[in-house]
């Protein structure tokens, strides 16, 4: 939720405000830069901090750094010497740290001594299934939320209360519990979907549902409330008085307003999806980054764990940058600003 600037704050420079969330976020030092440069600067800062945090975790871990880097991999004098050379462990601290940042800048994520492969290589081969899973889950969540919100906004109170109860439950069930229930019903009892694996396209259905439902719950609530608020606005009255049907009013005017607060949540969704993917992949026996992460954590394969941390920061920065652009597209009021 960090990168989410509220529309009010961004639309407020008519009265130069006491540092609003936007200014505070980017910091006084960056205020004189243009919005794009500021965005890029703040993104780079987050990436640097993530890389440094991963490095800090490595150095803070109790025990000898060489032991930690080997993890449960083969421990031979040759490999030890290679690690010391690669990470510069015989050199001063600052040189080690800068060397690490330098390697990252060159796209070198290090080497997994447990799997005897480059970390970048491992991630590249495993990223596909995870991307498919998270995108499918996001699509499921968004579609379900839209259906619920459009179906219940401004309707009978009983309908809205039912939707609201469903939303409450869906944010309270952990994704793996949904997954287990879906597996029991649809795979073991009805036999409609495969139990595990990722070979078959139908194997994606249940994991995507399990991962997408919590998102649908939160998003559905936000959308419905946004729609209801928009339909009470003066512009809704104007549109109705021009003879617009309720459906056209929602589609052409109200939905756009309801989407703004929903877009704010995209950064948070990304986190839920990435974190949830680890558990869902374990439950459904799907290959992917989640499996890689679990193997690395149980095997104490630090280079892989660090790379996953950095990768999730990269995804986050990319998503929140896109988010900023999306704001401007959805809300024309923001385009004139800055």
């Amino acid at each position: 939720m960090t990168a989410t600037r509220t529309p009010e704050a961004a639309a407020g420079p008519v009265v130069p405000p006491p540092p609003g969330p936007a200014a505070r976020r980017f910091g006084p030092a960056l205020r004189w830069l243009g919005p794009v440069a500021r965005r890029a600067g703040s993104g780079l800062a987050v990436l640097w901090a993530a890389a440094t945090a991963a490095y800090g975790a490595l150095r803070l871990a109790p025990g000898d750094t060489v032991d930690i880097l080997i993890g449960e991999g083969a421990d031979t004098p040759g490999i030890r010497a290679q690690i010391i050379r690669e990470w510069g462990l015989d050199r001063p601290e600052i040189v080690q740290y800068l060397g690490y940042l330098g390697r990252l800048l060159h796209g070198d994520l290090g080497r997994s001594y447990q799997l005897q492969r480059g970390v970048g290589d491992i991630l590249a081969t495993q990223v596909g299934p995870t991307v498919r899973l998270t995108l499918a889950a996001a699509a499921t969540g968004v579609l379900l939320a839209l259906a619920v919100a459009l179906g219940t906004a401004g309707r009978a109170r009983r309908l809205r209360r039912a939707a609201s109860a469903a939303e409450l439950v869906s944010v309270s069930v952990p994704p793996f519990v949904i997954g287990i229930l879906l597996l029991t019903v649809f795979s073991f009892t009805l036999g409609w979907f495969p139990v595990s694996g990722a070979g078959d396209p139908t194997a994606l259905v249940l994991p995507a549902l399990a991962l997408g439902l919590p998102i649908a719950g939160v998003l559905g609530q936000v959308l419905r409330e946004g729609l209801e608020r928009a339909l009470e606005q003066p512009f809704a009255l104007t549109a109705r008085s021009r003879g617009l049907t309720e459906r056209a009013l929602v589609a052409r005017h109200a939905l756009r307003h309801a989407l703004l607060p929903a877009v704010t949540l995209v950064g948070w969704f990304t986190g839920v999806l990435l974190g949830g993917a680890v558990i869902i992949e374990a439950l459904f026996g799907r290959p992917g980054l989640g499996q890689v992460t679990m193997l690395a954590v149980t095997g104490k394969d630090m280079p892989v764990v660090m790379a996953v941390v950095i990768l999730s920061a990269v995804v986050y920065v990319a998503v929140s940058t896109l988010l900023d652009l999306a704001y401007r597209l959805i809300d024309p009021r923001l385009r004139s600003v800055r």
Binding site: V218, T270, V297, T298
Partner: protein
Amino acid sequence: MTTAAVAAAVTRRPYRPRPGAVLAGLFLTLLAVAVVAPGLVTGVDPLAADPLRALAPPGPEHWLGTDHLGRDVLARIVYGARHSLSIGVLATGLAVTAGVLLGLAAGLSHRWVDEALARSFDVLSTFPELLLALLVIAITGPGTGNVILAIGIAQIPNYARVIRAQTFVVRRAGYVEQAVTSGLPRAAITARHVLPNVLGPIPVLATIGLGQGVIAASGLSFLGMGPQPPAAEWGAMLSEARNYLRVAWWVALFPGMAITLTVVCLTVIGRRLQRRFEGRTP
């Protein structure tokens, strides 16, 4: 921010009858009893295995059936409340304490210190909660204490951000200015005037955060990072049940329901508290 926190933050007074909150309170009280004295809720030993009655369906003898070792599922859920809830409570306590201290420090410090702290909250919340917890566990290894530490650290920014924002408001308040004018030392002003007034949103946030902590704890246990067997933790029970889904749905359904009901009740109470405190400014 966590699922329910987001959901609650955007809630604009949906009508919900009070009986819901009462039921939720009753269920949580029952859970609290189960945590403190599980023997009062069930007389069955959660570790007593009876291989002859393995995977028995729910019936008069075992209300919720038995698991693959013939252990009573109801007893394991009751005793499991201790693991699952205490992880959530301790992790939330850790996050609240650290979050309040850091948020207060940020809000009261020089602009540069504040910038640095605020930025570090941002970076901390950049990582998905579960990945951050796994990073901590990769260093510390699995186990109950490490799961508490992992979840606690991941939730710090939720509280620190709010406290920082509250501090900005409170420190400009008239009563604080007056305390400064009357020459009270800084520490006394912070402890006596600022701290009590920035804590307002904490009960609501912590109640909802506790629910999310329980979800995270059960998730990590499900992955095998939490309390080690034969401890009856809800997530760990689900993880074992996974192998018997084809023949015994009850082994998975009831622990899953226990987690869900707990989180639903915590969220309901949190939202009620929120409505109660809504509109109160420091």
